[in-house]
Amino acid sequence: MTNNNTISKTLIVAISLCLVCSALISYSAVELRDLQEANKTLDKQTKILSAAGLLADDKDVSSLFNSIEIKIVDLETGLFNTSINIEDFDESSFSRNPNTSIELTSDADIALLKRRENFQAIYLHYENESLKAIILPVRGYGLWGTMKGYLALESDLQTVIGLEFFDHKETPGLGGEIVNPRWKAIWKGKKVYSDSGDVIISVIKGSVDKSNKNAKFQVDGLSGATITSNGVTNLLSFWLGEMGYGPLIKEIRSKESADV
């Protein structure tokens, strides 16, 4: 057997192995990139449609998504921003970049985000030219990590259609029940703002007393998951409030009343 332990042989084996391995990985990464990107988009679209209650078994997700319009909104002013390309918008890089985000003071940061991006991509669902649903990305800290989801509101910007979380780290069986279809179904029809315009919707401890006049603002808590339940309340208060989509909602309302 030849001696493998010479320096030249060692170098030759190491270099050729690296070349072969890296070529293989580059090839597969390039070949499969389109499929992977398509999967990611499809996954996101499915979650958005599901929040808005538009998902149907017999229809293709991407064709259903044609009825959805994506807009970039400036969270500071509540106005739509047309200078940012939707393809260029990336929530995580925007919220980290000091030029496109603000640092939250501890009393404003109820959802424990630390920084909030100044722009957000929102989704509008039109049917026969009229606005049917508005789908807002929301996120906030639960027990173990950030819960990310979509909140869909009816065109009155007051009634919930659905709340769908697509990423969370909550305990399976306890906080993880935020993705349970039965719990998600409770959200439909709940109201988010009080008459004076405050965000009042909350996940309470235990079950909602139906006879209570506030029942339409309350959602059954998840048993054994108080911190997760509070996290959901907090993230909704944050994103529907002044620091979140408050200005946008005000803007749409004033535009509607001007139209009338």
Binding site: M1, V13, L17, L24, I25, P172, N180, R182
Partner: protein, 222 residues
């Protein structure tokens, strides 16, 4: 051919990588919450260990001894990245759930252990068979754990509802402990016990004996 059969079947019960060698426990704890995810993980690991054994064995006569571990790891890491890419492209949902655990196959002791212990000394075909057998041995334990955890923890088998949960209006109050990875410790422990009751030659000699406490020892001397 009997050697090949032995190499293939031995790791399943007689020399199981998890139950006897106690390797690869990390992923056995982490990814056994539901059966479907576990099956994906088993396929991923089995293909990695089979192929890595094959390729390591193929070039075993050219690997310089002083960099042999690095060479093995490079081959394993390449295969793991390929598996991860394929998974992201064809089963995105599972790849999201498995997340880092596919990448962590690199550090799975079974893969590296078989490359070093078997593939460096045997031919490519035999090494591939050995890798496949060890993959099966790993899979069988994981499947047992996953079936138990999913059934007790969520009342389902492969996603099909067997016992309706109270949270869904049924009668079965799910045991949430079984949804947490820690429960796997107990299940693995009981599996090993059951296997050793059946194959008694696997029972190890105790490494030390527990001494009687001093008071008792004194009494005896009196």
């Amino acid at each position: 051919m009997s050697k090949a059969k032995e190499v293939l079947l031995n790791p399943i019960f007689n020399d199981n990588p998890i139950a006897l060698q106690i390797l690869g426990i990390c992923s056995a704890l982490a990814v056994t919450g539901t059966l479907y995810i576990t099956l994906i993980m088993c396929v991923a690991l089995t293909s990695v260990v089979t192929l890595s054994n094959f390729f390591v064995s193929l070039i075993r006569n050219h690997i310089p001894t002083n960099i042999r571990i690095i060479v093995q790891i490079s081959i394993i890491a390449t295969l793991v990245m390929l598996v991860d890419e394929v998974l992201q492209a064809y089963d995105y949902e599972s790849s999201k759930t498995l997340s880092v655990f596919v990448g962590l196959i690199v550090t799975n002791c079974i893969v590296m252990g078989r490359a070093e212990a078997f593939a460096m000394k045997n031919g490519p075909i035999m090494s591939a068979i050995d890798g496949f057998g060890n993959g099966l041995g790993y899979s069988i334990i994981l499947i047992v754990i996953a079936v138990i955890r999913e059934f007790v923890g969520a009342g389902t088998f492969y996603g099909i509802e067997i016992m309706p949960l109270t949270t869904n209006g049924g009668w079965y109050l799910a045991n949430n402990f079984f949804l947490t990875p820690a429960s796997s410790f107990f299940i693995i422990g009981f599996t090993i016990w059951a296997l050793r009751q059946w194959k008694t030659d696997q029972i190890e000699e105790p490494e030390f004996k527990i001494l009687k406490n001093s008071l008792e020892a004194e009494k005896r001397t009196i």
